[in-house]
């Protein structure tokens, strides 16, 4: 009983931070955003930060999010350095439009938004709030539901900026947009940001998100990304999480798909202290396709928690979830995938698989694949495995003269490759392949672009 009281207090404390700073938080946003903010804080007071009594957070303990001392990064501070000096993407052949967030705020104040071509925009969400309210209003806050999710409510109350992407009807962006999320601070920091991507009818785009930490203090990031994919739209969304072991990443992705649209997401978790990825997909028109894939390689005391919810609201849609993980040392992982097939969503095809390899006795995996089905003419299946490498395959490789250790690495790499193969941005998938190979060999004990030696 005493503990519940304490948790409530923490949530009250977080609400107080809002009260103390509400003028500052409101200042930069138009009314419709602040209305959403008010709903957010009201809802957050009810829900708080989810704890393990919430069935969806059964295997995750977020106490430290508020038990540790943190500063909230509410407004961007003036920086007088060139971002290129401290960070550069190390895939030279990757040709992208780069947009950068520093501690959750759009970095390039001199060019808050860019016209990529044919009216396609990428830039600051806060800028879009104010300059193109009509377009933003139609989608902002519509897909990320705060009624049941404390993290979304929390974000709605505090967030003020993030990335805005708009691809008008019929526009096909060949060049990927690369979002670089950087965290840099002298003290422990809590960061909230919000992204909104709108793809019109027949619009196509590729978005790559890279998460990096640049200083060795603690970080908590709570982000909400809303994606609207119009009729026939196509989106490839690739996320590479590569933060240090003191960083906590709470990522909430909400995807709304219209008729015949196709969205592929790939979440590659290479590094991070605590990572929670919530992915919600609503297939709200006939003939949608959704491929949700993820790979996590964790060691030391890391925890990776993936929650995927696919809502088949309309008939004749296909969804495919595949998450794979390799867990080393005393790392822990959780997978919670849920497929909901609504009453009239006939001819649904929904698949879900979670495969894990435990490398040590101290590593632990909890997996919970779930099906909830209310229509009868459907093809649904799910499966989960926790185990080791296939002994027959191992033997086969050894009979060809390959060292046992090398054979194990080959099989682990092959295990992971299935996910990477789904990334169709050539230099990126090659780079990730390489990173994964190094990671498995233990050569990548710290993040690729990080000056800090991880603990």
């Amino acid at each position: 009983m005493g503990e519940t009281l304490q948790i409530t207090n923490w949530n009250e404390e977080l609400s107080d931070i809002f009260n103390r700073n509400s003028t500052l938080l409101r200042k930069g946003s138009p009314d419709y955003v602040n209305e959403n903010r008010d709903r957010g804080i009201a809802q957050f007071r009810k829900l708080g930060i989810p704890d393990s009594s919430n069935e969806n957070y059964k295997y995750l303990n977020l106490d430290f999010v508020y038990k540790q001392q943190f500063q909230d990064y509410l407004m961007p501070e003036k920086v007088n350095f060139d971002i290129n000096h401290i960070f550069q993407c190390d895939i030279p052949t990757l040709d992208t439009h780069v947009v950068t967030l520093l501690n959750g705020f759009y970095f390039d104040r001199s060019r808050p938004i860019s016209d990529l071509h044919s009216g396609a925009l990428a830039g600051s969400l806060n800028y879009a709030f104010r300059k193109i309210p009509d377009l933003v209003k139609k989608h902002f806050g519509r897909y990320a539901k705060m009624e049941k999710e404390g993290l979304v409510a929390w974000n709605s109350a505090f967030s003020n900026d993030g990335i805005f992407i708009y691809v008008p009807d019929g526009v096909v962006l060949r060049k990927p947009i690369q979002i670089v999320n950087l965290l840099l601070s002298n003290s422990n920091l809590r960061v909230q940001h919000r992204n909104l991507f709108i793809l019109g009818e027949n619009a196509h785009a590729t978005v790559i998100v890279c998460d990096h930490t640049l200083s060795d203090n603690r970080f908590v990031t709570n982000s909400v990304t809303e994606i609207f994919a119009g009729e026939n739209a196509g989106l490839d969304y690739i996320k590479v999480q590569n933060e240090h072991n003191l960083a906590t990443k709470l990522s909430n992705l909400y995807i709304h798909q219209e008729r015949n649209s196709r969205v592929n997401t790939n979440t590659i978790t290479l590094h991070g202290g605590v990572v929670r990825n919530n992915v919600h997909v609503v297939l709200d028109g006939k003939g949608c396709e959704s491929n949700i894939k993820g790979l996590y390689l964790v060691d030391k005391g890391q925890h990776v928690d993936n929650y995927i919810f696919v809502d088949h609201a309309k008939p004749e849609c296909t969804s495919n979830q595949l998450y794979k993980g390799v867990l080393d040392d005393f790392a822990t992982g959780a997978f919670n995938g849920r497929i909901l097939v609504r009453k009239d969503a006939q001819k649904t095809k929904a698949f879900q698989a979670n495969n894990n390899i435990l490398l040590t006795d101290d590593a632990k995996m909890n997996t919970k694949p779930q099906l909830e089905i209310y229509a009868d003419d459907v093809k649904c299946s799910h499966g989960a495995t926790v185990g080791q490498l296939d002994e027959d395959a191992l033997f086969y490789l050894r009979t060809r003269g390959i060292e046992e250790n090398e054979a194990r690495l080959m099989l682990m790499y092959a295990f992971a490759h299935e996910i990477i193969a789904g990334i169709n941005v050539e230099p990126l998938s090659a780079r990730i392949d390489d990173l994964v190979d190094k990671r498995l060999r233990g050569e990548l004990s710290r993040c690729a672009n990080c000056a800090i030696n991880c603990r």
């Binding site: 086969y396 050894r398 003269g401 060292e403 054979a407």
Partner: protein, 252 residues
């Protein structure tokens, strides 16, 4: 040798010399495949007693990969599918491990590809196969051809072909057999494990052994295979029940 407390192989006495082709025949469940995997080093069973000496080494003391690098090749009855591992990467790693063991430098990528092209031609394997993952989505025939192709790449001293003929149509059988024959030399030896005499029309054995109930019950020349084909295994079973064990001691 025992598996789960059941005695599988009881009495095997076999000597194979360079340049020889031995055929081991026998009905289902007689222990043929167990013998093959035992030679390659799968520790799925307990060896209660016995020894296998290979070029002066006690095989039970060395790992599967070391056996392979010493020239033992097992053509699997059911080649294993390994999704995600490309044939090229797989073979390159294997070949270079062999080379390293022999004190040779690893092959460069282009040299490796050259060797691969050569061997592909030698065993008439479809060039597309090497672009895929190991055995993944291969047809039964393709898998068997792939085994022979790997044998060509790794140039073993002792090749053990476990039911390489099963599931092959007549054309594929010829291709596989031709491959084996081309690779045969006075410096290596082959053990062909099979059910039927059919394969032995193409790969002519020097010796034929009949394995039954974990024992080699009869050995002879290639005519033994023909006799078996005619009379069936029941003939052997009957003979055993009349005479107990028969072993042609005149054989080396």
């Amino acid at each position: 040798m025992e598996i789960d407390g059941k005695e599988i192989l009881k009495s095997i006495n076999l000597e194979v010399n360079k340049g020889e082709v031995h055929a081991i025949m026998g009905p289902n469940g007689s222990g043929k495949s167990t013998l093959a995997t035992l030679l390659a080093g799968r520790d799925l069973a307990n060896v209660v007693e016995g020894e296998i000496t290979y070029m002066g080494k006690n095989l039970f003391e060395i790992s599967p990969e070391e056996r392979a690098r010493n020239g033992i090749f097992l053509g699997f009855q059911y080649p294993i599918e390994i999704p995600g591992v490309s044939m090229v990467n797989f073979l390159k790693t294997a070949l270079n491990e062999h080379r390293k063991y022999r004190g040779q430098d690893p092959l460069s990528a282009s040299d490796f590809l050259k060797v691969m092209q050569e061997k592909k031609k030698l065993v008439e394997i479809d060039s597309q196969l090497t672009n895929r993952s190991v055995n993944e989505g291969f047809s039964g025939g393709e898998k068997k051809k792939n085994e022979i192709f790997q044998m060509a790449m790794l140039e073993p001293t002792l090749a053990i072909l476990d039911e390489t003929d099963s599931g092959l149509d007549i054309d594929a059988l010829r291709i596989v057999a031709n491959g084996v024959n081309k690779l045969k030399s006075s410096e290596n030896a082959t053990i062909v494990i099979t059910h039927y005499q059919r394969l032995l029309d193409y790969i002519i054995p020097d010796y034929v052994h009949v394995l039954y109930d974990g024992r080699i019950v009869k050995s002879g020349g290639k005519e033994l295979a023909i006799e078996l084909e005619k009379k069936g295994y029941d003939w052997i079973k009957k003979e055993i029940s009349y005479n107990g064990m028969i072993l042609d001691k005149s054989l080396k």
